[in-house]
Subunit: 325 residues, 2 copies
């Protein structure tokens, strides 16, 4: 892979997470589908926040999490996403910058506040997310820094970015700019309901995607099949490389005629928030360093294990030891 | 003890904590005294934040932590303290309210932002704190809700509130109002350097204090002695009840001629932030429920153990099981 200024450039929603524990009764009382992400407006966010237990705030956003973990693993990383000019925006900017991620996107002045995701973690470690997109809805093509995209080995796009109204066009433009510069494009499907909302657009985009990340529910949603084996066959026909995760069962990497089964790394599950993001980070860090596919999957598994043992989507510890493995 | 609307009413700085891990080299590079609290201005807060690793935000403030833990243990609790009308102020209000603490103080509109404390946690679990007081400096006598103070069994004052310029007068007035209503007053010394800054005022206030909380360093600072035994003798002469904590060695309760030695509860130390606050919460919850002094100390130890096993000063779990013990 040709050298570049960045190994990975992520584009996604710039979100601050508010994480609190709850029981399953709280989820059903507030009509949440366990393990999913739903979009809520400002009024619903306020009402749900008022009903929630005390929380902990930390920077989140799917691609942003991936970027922070990859930088912790030693990759050279950039991120593009929209925060507002407010306290939570300052928190997001601090955290991603302190994680050694280049983050040049200018904040939104006035208008909506920085996006937040109200995350309820049930005793089984599953996270259920309620996202108020806030300033993210203003991310559009004019926010893309094409020169940086052209200088990144892999441009990584989160599926959630299909939800904000102007971001889809930016998404497609970023993918094509990366491809035109001889770079690669990775896409994460993010969530089965997100896939359901934007299935046709996702399938169209696959023509410009080199590496697809998805979990079992997401890839089955994309191809509208309940059968993972069928979904694998369909994915193999659509992309040259797919990494499909299956929680504690590990992951499957599909590359042309090759299939690699990768075990999950042992971990004591506390909060699964960010597991898929961290897997993509580990995978892409190894991939852009020229490692073989099983090594990419193994670093993905190790990175995922490192974030599910505590509350929050980003690592608490120095990850360079993982990368050395 | 005569019944009242509240068991405990805390008055203190209303602060959002920003917690990040660091090594001892980072502390010395930034001239921090390990384990202490120092006050910093807005510019220093910005510079230190920029240099800090990625953090996690959660509601803090010494007396506010005590209030949240006590409410979790089943006590009826109120808190008075000043936040600004901003995002971090909304976070503080949400968390203390969600912890079932009555919090009627109106926010500061315009002016300084909500206070924050940049907390660096070293690998030994010790926390070193850098407080930007923000809106707290505007807390004054007009913020006191005297009717609530008169309706609380114990009014609990944090020593840190001696630092904001207008709060000392409010502090003295609150203590006297509580006493005049036949209620009791508890004081936490908060920090040896805070004691050093305000020693004469603290010694004056003891005339209006029924219950004194301090750790070894704080009580030795108050009486300017390196000897804990000497400090105990002095404290016994000044207050009718003192609970003096000694980290993993537990605590000593002094009441007239009686002395009770209380063991620490077993815990795996991750972050000592909030240990003293939680001890006071456990102690006062049992005390206002009419339990004997050793039982008060034991609930203090259990509550402290519950918060030092994770990052942050407030409990992550339901504490009512502790109270049942």
């Amino acid at each position: 892979m040709q050298d570049a200024r960045f190994d990975i450039l992520g584009i996604g929603n710039a979100i601050v997470d508010v994480v609190a524990p709850c029981d399953h009764g709280f989820l059903s009382k507030h009509d949440m589908h366990p393990g999913s992400m739903r979009l809520i407006d400002a009024a619903a966010a306020e009402a749900l926040y008022a009903a929630m237990p005390p929380g902990t705030e930390s920077s989140g956003g799917s691609a942003a999490n991936t970027c922070a973990v990859a930088a912790g693993l030693g990759a050279r990383v950039a991120f593009q996403g929209k925060v507002a000019q407010d306290q939570l925006g300052a928190v997001f900017r601090h955290d991603i910058t302190a994680a050694r991620v280049h983050f040049p996107t200018s904040p939104l002045a006035g208008g909506a506040p920085t996006a937040r995701c109200l995350i309820l973690v049930t005793p089984d470690g599953q996270r259920t997310m309620n996202t108020f997109l806030g300033a993210c809805v203003m991310f559009d093509e004019s926010d893309l820094l094409i020169a940086d995209i052209e200088e990144a080995k892999v441009t990584y796009l989160e599926g959630y970015l299909f939800d904000p109204p102007y971001a889809q066009a930016a998404f497609v433009r970023a993918a094509r700019a990366a491809r035109a510069a001889g770079r690669q494009v990775a896409l994460s499907l993010s969530d089965p309901f997100c896939v359901d909302r934007h299935r046709a657009a996702f399938l169209d985009l696959l023509a410009d995607v080199d590496i697809l990340f998805a979990n079992e529910a997401e890839i089955c949603s994309l191809y509208e099949t309940p059968d993972f084996a069928d979904a694998m066959v369909a994915a193999r026909a659509d992309v040259q490389l797919a990494a499909l995760t299956q929680s504690e069962q590990g992951s499957v990497i599909l590359s042309g005629d090759e299939v690699f089964a990768i075990a999950a790394a042992p971990a004591k599950l506390v909060d699964s928030t960010g597991a898929g993001d961290a897997y993509a980070a580990g995978f892409l860090t190894a991939y852009t360093a020229g490692r073989d596919l099983p090594a990419c999957g193994r670093l993905g598994s190790l990175a995922a294990a490192a974030v599910i043992e505590h509350y929050g989507a980003r690592p608490r510890t120095d990850l360079r030891a993982l990368a050395a493995q």
